[in-house]
Each structure stands twice: as C-alpha cells, then as structure tokens.
Amino acid sequence: MIADHLPALQVVVPLLAAPLMMLVRRGTFAWLVAVAVSWTTLAIAFALAVKVREVGVISYAMGNWPPPWGIEYRVDALNSFVLVLVSLVASVVAPYARTSVAAELPRDQHYLVFTMFSLCLAGLLGITITGDAFNLFVFLEISSLSTYVLIALGRNRRALLAAYQYLVLGTIGATFYIIGVGLLYLMTGTLNLADMAQRLRDVHEMRPVLAALAFITAGVGLKLALFPLHFWLPNAYAYAPSAITSFLAASATKVSVYVLLRYYFLIFGVPLVFGRLPMAEVLIGLSVLAVVSASLVAVFQRDLKRMFAYSSVAQIGYITMGMGLANKAGMTGAVVHLFNHGITKGAIFLLLGGVALRVGSTSLERVAGLAKTMPLTSFGIVLGGMSLIGVPGTAGFISKWYLVLGAIEHGYWGLAVLLVVSSLIAVAYVWRFVEVAYFREPEPGAARLAEAPGSMLIPAWIMVAACVYFGLDTSLPLDGARAAAALLLGGAP
C-alpha cells in the first residue's frame, strides 16, 4: 500500500515537515524532525532506486489524475540516481547542522534554518521526481525561495546582499525557464514532459521551439551556474551558514544540471539539440571557459569557502562538458561527476564548517598551521582536494577518466589535454591550502584550538570516506550513471 505511494511520499514528507517545525518553533525539535525527514527521504530514494532497477520506469499519477492531464511523478534510471544523491547529502548534513547552526546563528533562528532546509529538500526532490514541466517550476521556486532565506541567514551582513543578488538572478532564471515552458506549451498543448517529448517530434523544426530551447538553457543555466551565469554562486556559498553551503554545493546545482540533461536529451532530443543546433560546441566552449577561468580565479582567492566555491563553478564545467560530448563515455562521466562532485564538495564544505566554528573564519591567513590544531579536518580537506584534482583512488578520478575517454572517442584531443591540464590548476589551489595548513606555524593563541566536535567531524568524514571508497569500488555510482547515460542516449543499458 505505502510502497505504491513512495514517489509522492518522497516529496510530501519533507514538505509537510516544514509547517510542523514552523508551528512548534523549537530548535531541537526542528532538528530532530529534519534528521528524521532526511533519513526517511533517503530510505525512500533507495527503495525507489531498487524498484526502478527491477521494473524500469515508475509512473505515479498525483491525486489519481491520469497523465498527461494530471501531474505525473516519474522515476527512471536518471532521476532515481539524483534522488539518492540529494537525499544522501541531506541525511549527512542534517545531523551535522545542529552544532554548526548552534554556533553560527542566534537561538531564535534555529528552527527557521531547519524549516527552510526541509522545504529546500522538498523542492529539490520535487524538481527531480516530477514529470510535469510546470510542477517543476513550482518546486524550483520552492527550493529557490528557501535557499534565499537560508543564505540571508548567514551571520556576515554581506550574506544579505548575496541572498538579494541570488534572488534577482534566480528569479530571472526561473522566469526564463517558465517562458520556455510556455512556448513549449503553446506548441504542444501539454505540460507532461513525456507527452511533450512525443509531440515535439512533429514540430521540432519550428522557431518557437528553438526559442524555448534558448530560454530554458539560459534559465536553467543561471540556476546551475553555467559559465558565464555563475556570478551569484561564489558570494552565496561564501556567506551562507556553513551547513547550508555544504548542502547547496552538493545538491542544488546538481539538480539544475539534471533538469538541463532531461530537457536536452529526453525532451528536445539529440537530433535537435546537437544535430541542428550547435549546442555541443556551445556547451563545450562554455565549459572550457568555466573550467579554466574559474579554476584560475580559485587559485587567487584568499578565503577557503570562496576558493572552493569557484572550484564548484569549474567542476560544474566538467559536468556540462560531458553533456556536450554527448557520447556514452562523456555522459557517464557527466552523470557520475554529478555524484562524485556532490560528495567531494559536500565533504570539503562540511570540514570548512568545522574550521569556521573553531577558527572563526575560513580566510587563508587564519588557517595557518591548521594541521597542528585540527589534524583530522586538515587531512580531510586534503583528501577532498585530491578528489577535486582527480588523483586515482578518489572519486574524482573516475569522473575524469570517463570525461577524457569521452573526449578521445570524439577525437577532441585538445579537449582531452585541457581536461588534464585543468587538473593541474586544481593542484595549485589545493596546494595553497596544504602549504598554509601544514607548513606555517599557527598564530600565537591558536594553539589551544581543538579539533571540531564529533557531531560535525563524523558526518564530514563519512563524506570524505565516501570520496575514497567510491574511487576504489565504483560499482554503485557507476552502474547508476551508466544506466542513466544509456537512458539519456536512448540505448539499452
């Protein structure tokens, strides 16, 4: 009975939890609920992933209105993978958040953080699971609005401006998206994505469809921080509360990437996007710029959170690059990098949260000698950094392997070279941290700094361990990614 309604519960559970927390207004209660909710969503996501593997596609008619008229929730190999990623990140961040939030925010705001966290989770899961273009917009706005609140809660006053800028750009992005959907609706008369894909085959040469593609690309591109639409991201990540940064960095942009993947490959289709339009060249070109320029900017940052935020822009470039390659290896690389970058960046930002808590800042000058005062945290950041570089034995290597393979299969030798050279830029910024943390002496007075509390360190290290584990035994994410890539490219898995 319940098993049939899992797709709905995936979204409804966190969605209903939010008003409950709002009513009770107790920080501890809200935290407990948030943990329970995120773990429940993880369990549901896993159950769905297992079921998808057995039966293929799960279609769930919301409120029993049959698609294409009603809203359909549709789970397949691709989005079950993203569901697992998002709920996994949430399940790790939620237990961590209590100490981190308690240290960073005044007491009366605690319940708010968890309410918004829960709402944001509901939005992200909703975007992923829904099979309806307009419903997707609604969830996009639910997650975005809660994100703006979360960022604005940051203790530095610059967080406010960061939130405001993100709000303006995010709203423009969402509106662009909905303009695109409107045009598609005018052309096809349906909002159900699967149905839309069917009907678009008849009209795909017409100009409104192309305009829709442009609007959706620009809109979703803003949300996923596709170069050069990434200017909101570094500030937003740098000034949001630490726990929130980790959650957003690991999941929010990934969900937007998923939306773009879905529109390009399953709705507009490869012949239109990559055949008639030069989107492959556009995507790869922008990705190259993202990877190179954002990595270079990251090297010169003075604040660790900003440094790794810029690195996120670069890493998203890898994902879109794999998308642009549009062959099997490239797509596998893109999808698996969604996951790998999610856990890697999640781990790093969780550890940085500990740094912010103990040191009071994440600026590079202040973390001198961190390896002495917080050895576990420093070492975790180094391991995460290696995953960003793509050192074999870490998750990042697997993504890079597939991306290079994809580039070579296409005969894009220059791109393959660029991929590997860009790893070297990652070495440069990761090693800036290493040299400061390991070779400089701690500032006087910093000697009594202790390691981050266990409630933060343990979740963070779970993520770090995942980075290494999924670099060695890759079957779990890789099978998911290969199935997703096969689905996107329309072949048998």
């Binding site: 307009f134 917009f137 609604v138 706005e141 609005l145 703006y148 609140v149 604005a152 006053r157 610059r158 406010l160 401006l161 939130a163 405001y164 709000l167 303006v168 709203t171 423009i172 509106t175 909905i178 303009i179 409107g182 609706y185 005018l186 909002l191």
Partner: protein, 121 residues
Amino acid sequence: MSFPGHYTYWVTIFLMIAGLYIVIARGNLVKKLIGLGIFQTSVYLLYIAPGKLIGGTAPILAASFHTYSNPLPHVLILTAIVVGVATLALGLAIVVRIREAYDTIEEDEILEKDRAEEAEE
C-alpha cells in the same frame, strides 16, 4: 498574421524587456524588485493570452456553448502569481534587512562599504 493580430505578444515582449532593463540598469534595490515584478508579469500575459478564444466562454459544459477558452493557463498563472508575490515579499524583506545593516539601499553604496571594510581588514 499581422502586427495587430500579434499585439499581445508585442505587449508581452515589451514588458519583458522593460522589466529586465530596470533590473539591470537601476541601482536601487527596491526598483530592481519592481523591475523583476514587471518581468514576471509579462509571463502571465504570455500564458493567458493564447488561452483565450474569441467567442469562447468559460469551460462550463452546457448545450448552448461549443467553444471554450482553455482554463489551464489561468490555473497555472494563479500559481505563478503566488510564486511571484512570495518572491517579491521575500525580496523586500531582504531589502529591509539590508537597509538595517548598511543604512542604504543603493547597490553602489553598499559595495563601497563592503570594499571599505575589506580594506580595513
């Protein structure tokens, strides 16, 4: 297929561009939000206008009516309006907080203060 025949589109596009222009060109945070509101409004029009058929009525099944207007865009746009209101409210709330923190709502002055603060560090 004439200019007047498409005039709803022209209005839509005008609102869209005007809204975006305000967002980009104005430094005042509240004015930016107003621009954003106009921009979003253009979308409402984009959805609603094509749903109307000349001579069509509300979709209430009755023997005397044969042409109906499409009700779905209205429903969708109701939702979109709610979203728009929420965004605007949140945006204004943030602007209030910004004014409390910076004592101004002009973007360039805020950035100036941030830079000054950075220079002190």
